[in-house]
Symmetry: none
DNA sequence: TATGAATGAGTCTTCATTCAT
DNA sequence: AATGAATGAAGACTCATTCAT
């Protein structure tokens, strides 16, 4: 991770990130060699190692950047909404919508989850997302909107629903976000409120 | 997949299956070499290939056998229970309990999901589980116990909850099955009935 | 090579020889494993090593036995023919005819020629065949039927013609022996007599 | 088959080709491992795979390049000779002479003939050589220099003679080209003209 | 910045042969 | 005589990474 990059250098870096993400999603991380990546861009192998110190670092970068974007989208979507449960609904929608636009990212996360190496990055990402959800849940409990219960476990249950429906419908079948979001919101909100 | 195996041969095969599952779960599939597996058993490399035609076949075998066992447990647990929603609850409990006893299997499934090679086996396994759940849901809808909705999508939502809580609590933290099952059942049942 | 074999034992040995020859011809010597051979016969691996001390020995056996048969056929064909040149013609015909009936053997010889291991057996076989031909040639020279020349080199030239036409027409295209023999005899006899 | 090679790269490629040819000829194709090849050059194993995608490809390359050279030599030797039969004689001589200078190549062809994998390349090479010879034969027939007969079969008979004498005298005994060519030419020309 | 070349440990798999029963 | 099981050396090939230019 060089500190200073010329504009051209930034472009190259972006190119590498984009191309890798695509290839990783298509073929998987291990089956995609550094040689594949650079040759897809028509450059020499040195280029890769000029911008990234290793293949692992690149994936970590991808993971971090993706999560950053996802969260931005969630926050934009939630905006200043005052209702805690409504915030959860908006978050669900935003998440599905973002993955619909960034399908590559899903498979990458999926893989990273099976490799100890990426546990730290992934854990941090998840922690952030869970904390967001849990915050809304705690507020809803404090307001008596939902019964008292373990907010962390509930947050994980909700993320489980989102993750599974995203994979099965958004990624695998290219279903419409609205349709899936509808069921996801209903199921989760009822699950919380009873 | 040799047709005839002497008792001794069956034992060896089981040993290989067990040992592999353990190593795959600990270090991951790729990082575990065939050499690691056989040397853990203190036998020659050829032994592996006497019982399995490839490392891939071994994993597929593990996947199939595991799912078979899981389903057996679910069926035993459900027994002749007549109430459709209660059957779902029993299924949730049985699943968490089985994974608590077979943590290795969870990481193996997780990995397999990231490798195209195993998509067919995995798809078949999932399909079976989903169909079981969807059947109960359809019955509940027919009986007016829950509102009409897409039973397949609901089944996947439920499996999403179970999968996530299993991973985060049963596998990662060794939490008690009862405790997790309690929340999972409540969340899912409310999610269905509103 | 066990000294005494029961009648049943002799059969087994023959079966092994026949099956091996066929498989070697179809797939090649190296690509055919001992496992392939015994499993084609539906017997255990021990059987193979009961009758042959090694895969190599089996091939050598095949080579020797085949050559023995070929020569028998040539001799039967030549019988008591008094004319030396006519004897060469009869030999050519008999050789083509024998290979037409034993195509497997041709590929086996072909392979053996590329492996140092079998050089001795092959050399011995060739030597015998060449000596037969050379004897007729010497007689023809002594009788003034053909010009004096190196009988060994001439014999090899004749064998070159036979070998090549056998491969290209008898083996590869299943051409009729008569047709090929016609040209072979004409070409060789003219080559000798001018 | 990398498209771009620096001068240094071209050298390496040539070295690999040369070294492999030598080792294949000495020990045979299968007994020569890629490890043997690279260690004979004192380089790492990856070098081999930088220039050739497989051991097979290397051999195919060798076969093609060799045949190309041989044919060049034949054409140079024949030049603008107008007499069809004389062209055949010149071709015979050139072939023996080329193999005398490239003995390695002979064993390589010999081996390749026993492995289905190389059948296509070999077939193409042979086809070219046979077509050349057959062309001269047809001309000779048209001119009434030799009797009408199957030109393809005759070409194969001639190649049979050349192949055999090359192997037995040029390769195995290092005999003088002139001496062998003399008999080969006489035998074949007489064989044709009667 | 970038390239082509090189490294070499590590992977899966094959197979002739031997052994215990 | 015969079987299923086991051995283990050897082979082709991959690939992240480094280096000389």
């Amino acid at each position: 991770m060089r500190a200073k990059l010329t504009p051209r250098g930034k472009d190259r870096r972006e190119q590498l990130l984009r191309t890798s993400a695509q290839l990783f999603a298509e073929r998987g991380y291990h089956p995609t060699s550094v040689a594949d990546i650079v040759s897809a861009l028509g450059v020499g192998k040195g280029v890769f190692y000029w911008y990234f110190s290793s293949k692992e670092e690149l994936l970590a970068e991808l993971l971090k950047a993706g999560n950053h974007e996802l969260r931005k989208r969630q926050q934009q979507s939630i905006g200043t909404e005052g209702d805690s449960l409504r915030r959860i609904e908006l978050g669900i929608e935003a998440t599905l919508a973002w993955f619909a636009d960034h399908r590559d990212h899903f498979s990458i996360i999926q893989f990273a989850a099976t490799d100890e190496t990426f546990a730290p990055v992934l854990a941090r990402n998840e922690q952030i997302g869970l904390a967001d959800t849990a915050r809304h849940l705690k507020e809803a409990m404090a307001d008596g909107r939902i019964a008292d219960s373990d907010p962390d476990m509930l947050a994980r249950a909700i993320h489980g629903v989102i993750g599974r429906l995203t994979r099965d419908y958004i990624i695998d079948r290219g279903a419409s976000v609205a349709e899936v979001a509808e069921l996801a919101k209903t199921f989760c909100l009822r699950g919380l409120t009873g």
